[in-house]
Amino acid sequence: MFKLLSLEWKKFRKNSVVQMLLWIFVIFFPSLIFIGKNKDLFENNPLISSADIFAFPGVWKWLGWDGNWMVFFALGFLMVYVISIEMSYKTMRQNIITGLTRTEYFLSKLYVLLVFSLFATILYAIVGLIIGYVHTDDATFSMAMDNNWAIPRYFLMCVAYLSFAMFIGFTIKNSGLAVLTYLAYGILLEPMIRWLGHSELTGGHKSMHWYPMNAAEDLMPMPSPDFLSGKASEIFLTTQEAVIISSIYTILFIGLTYYTFTKRDM
């Protein structure tokens, strides 16, 4: 495992796109939540107070939602990139010719996926704890951890997004097109299929929410004020549903990627 990870490090540590996306993630993820300090938006706002956003347990929801966007855009983009660019450069093929087995090559990318997810989750935990402790009066550790499994949920969200990104990266051979497909599917295509297709055909049956990007998103959903929670339950999956559906898609995408990659011509 270490050998394959250090190989990835050698390949990408000097890649400017990788460096840029990592910096974007590391800078924007902790700072985006501070939009909540905007007085015009949140002072005298009857629905959300600034204190809810930054204190325990609200910080886990808001920071999770912030991370939801950042992981999808920055890390997902990065995941597609580090796979599809090797197809464009034909270095994927050369790596195999040089001596990696296909399974080893696949594992090297899977390890990258896990490292990204772990890194993002640790960052989430650290930033969440710091912001929470600073903004909560008399904060205790048990208060900080009373968050409905937010940290493991966040990890699963990362893995779910990135396994879809990995699938796209291995499937679409042109790197530009791969990144575009990943973003377009998440932002446009899946919502269109759900709301214009599935919803119309099934009369709004709740299966319209059982899509991979939506399930991953609902692991860390947009925080909604308490009095909306009844309404929210109609559009959002429950945590339990999101965990189950995301896990199934994750296994499916990783399995499908491995199966096709070990069979096909390069």
Binding site: K3, S6, Y89, T101
Partner: protein, 296 residues
């Protein structure tokens, strides 16, 4: 000892058969040229034996199977174009190859010397000319001094200077005792570098053997007479004459090497033919290649 055994390899792309029941055995220490026109199945063959393409049927085995699925670590190979990370320099790119092969760290000075890239080792790959890229690719195949090296059209697209430079490197590699497998459509290249040749066309193996034996088996007469029509009918009656072609201003025939020119000209005079031009020359690989690929 056979380094590589290929048995009945077949590969189809839809309706096109790229490789048809190919059998080949590569012996240790030989310099093998795989010769064939573009699209004859050379790269497909190399792709299959390197594990990046899947064959439809047939088998191949490297090193008697002793390395299992890790056989590629014992081989240095390039397929088609040189493929490297454009934002890394020569040393960094070579280091990735070393890392994959599981070899200890090294500075690659010796290899960079051989491929004449010492001065540019710190420049990014993307700034290299095609010739430099090709040389780096050859250098990458030498890392860890593998038993077998494979080159695919190593001089393709290079300018004359680049070709000369790459050929010199290839000759040096070939004389170092390694087993070399080189695909090429350039006969001259194979003739100059290789000890053995396998000729393929449309996925069929047409001929294989030592370059010397293919070259010396036949020789060539170029002949012109006052009555070439009669000449042709006479030629068709001579058993030692294998093939007759119309050349530019003369008739060309490949002849059994034991057949003497004196005997030949005497026979023609007896038949009343007046010879205006007669040249004997050894058959080049190019003639051989054209004959073999034309006749089958």
């Amino acid at each position: 000892m056979a380094v590589l055994e290929i048995n009945g390899l077949t590969k189809k792309y839809g309706k096109i058969t790229a490789l048809n029941n190919l059998n080949l055995s590569i012996e240790s220490g030989n310099i093998y040229g795989i010769l064939g026109p573009n699209g004859s199945g050379k790269t497909t063959t190399l792709g299959i034996i390197l594990g990046v393409l899947a064959q439809d049927s047939g088998t191949f085995q490297w090193f008697g199977g002793q390395y299992g699925q890790y056989f590629r670590k014992e081989i240095g190979a390039i397929l088609e174009t040189p493929n490297f990370y454009p934002y890394l320099n020569a040393s960094e790119n070579l280091d990735i190859v070393r890392h994959i092969k599981g070899l200890p760290e090294q500075d690659f000075e010796e290899i960079l010397e051989i491929i004449n890239l010492k001065d540019r080792k710190a420049s990014k790959f993307r700034t290299y000319s095609l010739g430099m890229k090709q040389r780096l690719a050859i250098g990458a195949t030498l890392i860890g001094s593998p038993q077998v090296v494979i080159f695919d059209e190593p001089t393709n697209g290079l300018d004359p200077e680049g070709i000369a430079e790459v050929r010199n490197i290839l000759k040096n590699v070939a004389s170092s005792g390694k087993t070399v497998l080189m695909a090429s459509h350039i006969l001259d290249e194979v003739e100059k570098v290789c000890s053995h040749v396998a000729i393929i066309k449309k996925g069929h193996l047409l001929a294989t053997g030592p370059v010397g034996s293919i070259l010396s088996s036949d020789k060539m007469f170029q002949i012109n007479t006052t009555d070439n029509l009669q000449l042709k009918s006479v030629l068709s009656d001579i058993g030692q004459i294998k093939q007759v072609n119309d050349g530019k201003g003369f008739i060309e025939c490949s002849v059994d090497s034991a057949y003497e020119v004196a005997e030949f000209s005497k026979l023609l005079s007896e038949k009343g033919l007046i010879i205006t031009h007669l040249v004997e020359r050894s058959n080049s690989l190019e003639d051989e290649f054209l004959q073999i690929t034309k006749s089958k």
